[in-house]
């Protein structure tokens, strides 16, 4: 397909060493009229400093309320190729591994029905296909689902769960993050595809407190792997780090947040009872330090971006939970959490905001979790607090 638009502003973004999204749109424009008009539309945005997309309309596939984001250009006459330019969210395999065969097949189908443009991956984790028409949605869904792929979540629904690489290729992972993510995704299929929640609900699973999937910042339910045993020390490996120039006192011991480590120039020791399991020493001396003993998860609740009433980071709700496949206990706990939220929230109120309104007590009572110092940085400061009838019975 020939060049349709002059794009002097976007051409500036093909200069320089970093890979260019403009080059990607131009590549797709060689075979897609939609991508070609996308190029023209985005050039116009660069000229006028504003976007030209309308709000998503209600489009989708039969029986699903989500997984497709309707997108229409505000300038359909000028750029007819992007009059419809819907997004299809394909639920990624946990951990983002693919065979080339599978990914090639995904792309072949997309070339047939869409613009050829993708996001690998979108912010929530789905493999995002950018730009197709309403009449292509049913055949697209049939093509992908008949090959074992399904749509991700959108709208006021369970969103596509996501995870770090976990035990697949990381020695720090305390849990099978990919296994847990896949299991929760499968169990919440109905809630993902048929939006019936007050607002979105996200689950992310991280193997350790390094949190490479940003669970603590970006998911209503943040599942983070942890352990209960000691940190095993390989003193020969410690010696090796020192020999290679690591200043163990400055870089490890003095950076320990609980001051539970010491080093006498020969041996490293850890007062394990005082360790808060932050991961600093383990990540800096991965050949010398290993977690041991019982493994499990911490469940934190509430994080979200600023809309509506400000950003939140997730806070500890279940300090430690031992879990094993097929993760029935975890599924039941998440279900109880969602049930309380669903029963109490206003429209567009995330669970973190609801807990701020209602307080932790009703939430903890509803899900059957006792209060614990692990849930707070410090106790209440003011002497205003509630008593309930139950407290007097004790």
């Amino acid at each position: 397909m020939g060049k349709k638009y002059d794009t002097p502003l976007l051409d500036e973004l093909e200069k320089g060493p970093w890979p260019s999204f403009v080059t990607e749109i131009k590549k797709s424009a060689t075979h897609s009229n939609m991508a070609n008009d996308e190029l023209g539309l985005v050039e116009k945005s660069y000229r006028d400093k504003r976007g030209y997309w309308k709000h998503g309309g209600i489009v989708g596939v039969l029986g699903y309320g989500g997984g497709v984001i309707g997108r229409y250009s505000a300038l359909p006459d000028e750029f007819p190729g992007v009059a419809h330019f819907h997004t299809v969210r394909i639920n990624q395999p946990s951990g983002f591994f693919y065979t080339t065969k599978a990914l090639r097949e995904i792309c072949n189908i997309w070339d047939k029905y869409g613009s050829g443009l993708t996001n690998v991956h979108g912010s929530t984790g789905d493999l995002v296909l950018l730009g197709t028409t309403t009449e292509a949605l049913e055949p697209i869904f049939a093509e992908y689902s008949s090959r074992g792929w399904d749509l991700g979540g959108s709208g006021s629904a369970m969103r596509t769960p996501s995870c770090c690489i976990g035990a697949a290729r990381c020695e720090w992972s305390n849990i099978d993050a990919m296994g847990i993510c896949n299991e929760m995704t499968q169990r919440f299929q109905d809630e993902m595809h048929r939006p019936a929640y007050p607002y979105k609900f996200k689950i992310k699973v991280a193997g350790c407190a390094c949190d490479c999937v940003a669970a603590i910042a970006r998911s209503d339910c943040s599942i983070i792997g942890t352990w209960k045993g000691d940190i095993a020390i390989d003193q020969a490996a410690v010696k090796d780090y020192a020999g290679k120039g690591m200043d163990i006192n400055a870089e490890i011991v003095e950076m320990c947040p609980t001051s539970c480590m010491s080093y006498d120039g020969k041996e490293l020791s850890i007062d394990n009872g005082e360790c808060s399991r932050c991961m600093h020493c383990i990540t800096k001396m991965t050949k010398a330090l290993k977690t041991t003993g019982e493994k499990g998860i911490t469940i934190l609740i509430g994080s979200k971006a600023p809309i509506v009433v400000g950003s939140l980071l997730s806070w500890v709700v279940v300090p430690f939970m031992k879990i094993e496949p097929p993760y029935d206990d975890l599924y039941e706990m998440i279900s109880k959490i969602i049930e309380w939220w669903d029963d109490n929230a206003k429209p567009r109120e995330r669970i973190g905001e609801l807990i701020e309104v209602k307080g932790m007590r009703p939430f903890l009572e509803a899900i059957g979790v006792p209060p614990s110092p692990a849930q707070v940085f410090e106790p209440r400061k003011d002497p205003f607090f509630f008593w309930s009838d139950d407290d007097f019975k004790k």
Partner: protein
Amino acid sequence: MADLPKGWLTAEESKEKRQTDIGPPHFEQFLPPVIKKNYGDWKHHERLDAGTMVHEANSGDKVFTVRVASPRILSTITIYEMLDIADKYCDGYIRFTTRNNVEFMTPDEGKVKPLKKELKDKGFTIGGIGPRISNVVHTQGWVHCHGACTDASGLVKAMMDEFYEYFTEKELPAKVRLAVACCVNMCGAVHCSDLAVVAVHRKVPSINHEAVKNICEIPTTIGSCPTRAISPDPAKKSVKIKDEKCMYCGNCFTVCPPIDIHRPDEDGVAIVVGGKIGSARTGPKFSKLAIPFIYNNPPRWPEVIEALKNILDTYAKGARKHERMGEWIERIGWERFFSLTGIEFTYQHIDDFTFMRDTLRTSAAFKM
């Protein structure tokens, strides 16, 4: 009925083939054999250079990983190029990271060098591992979003052209995580990044009352406002906005499009710093406001790039080894951050929303 485009499934075929609620395919079928064999049994790993690492399993097996940048918006044509390379060197397996990098893995050390050569020859950028800048988490922007008040992909491209060598080679005191959000919805982890850009509006939206009446649900629109600036306007069967309460978040526009928040000539971006996600050393932190506003200046936003560079350079000069941006700032104090960077401190920097009580200085000790 019009003819279907060539090769499309017919309505009947679609109906017959479609399956629902099957979920994603199980990941196990996509794992390279060395990953599958040593799943959950890794011993340690080592960074070999800015874009290469080796993981060693307790079995003695090794897997080498080469990491490559991606603009996140990928054409299928580029994906096919990646897949061809993965077929040639990685036994037909490929992986992507949570920050949209691409990972090529092989258990065969002998393949690493030719793999990297071919990636470089084909124009791919190798790097992003270790105390450096990795790929930028970002949003759709003008490319595909109705709410965008800047373009995320263009900003990312301009930023990473500037910081390129921090991806491919040069080290920083610790990793620096960048993000760009094209509005305050923040479909990316801007609110917890070391250094990030978020687009902001600055004017009270205008209301097309006739359209509000026809399109919008009034209670939802009123409920969408975090500062309770919106109230009913019964005479117009619409809503009104109390100007002095509006903080221009645009959530009303999201639920009710006739409330138009866009002002192309007054929209732009803010820069936030010091956020982090991991719990190492100090807990996860929100990013905080460094610069409240810079005008949109596409295609390359030179003023934004200059401002980011200033902050990054000041951090690189002042931080201790392993100290993240936010940890460095907390050690030296925010008053020192502003004096070192020369960034002007304004009314906008003082929180008057949900974090005011936590952020006002209740101490007589501070640096002059």
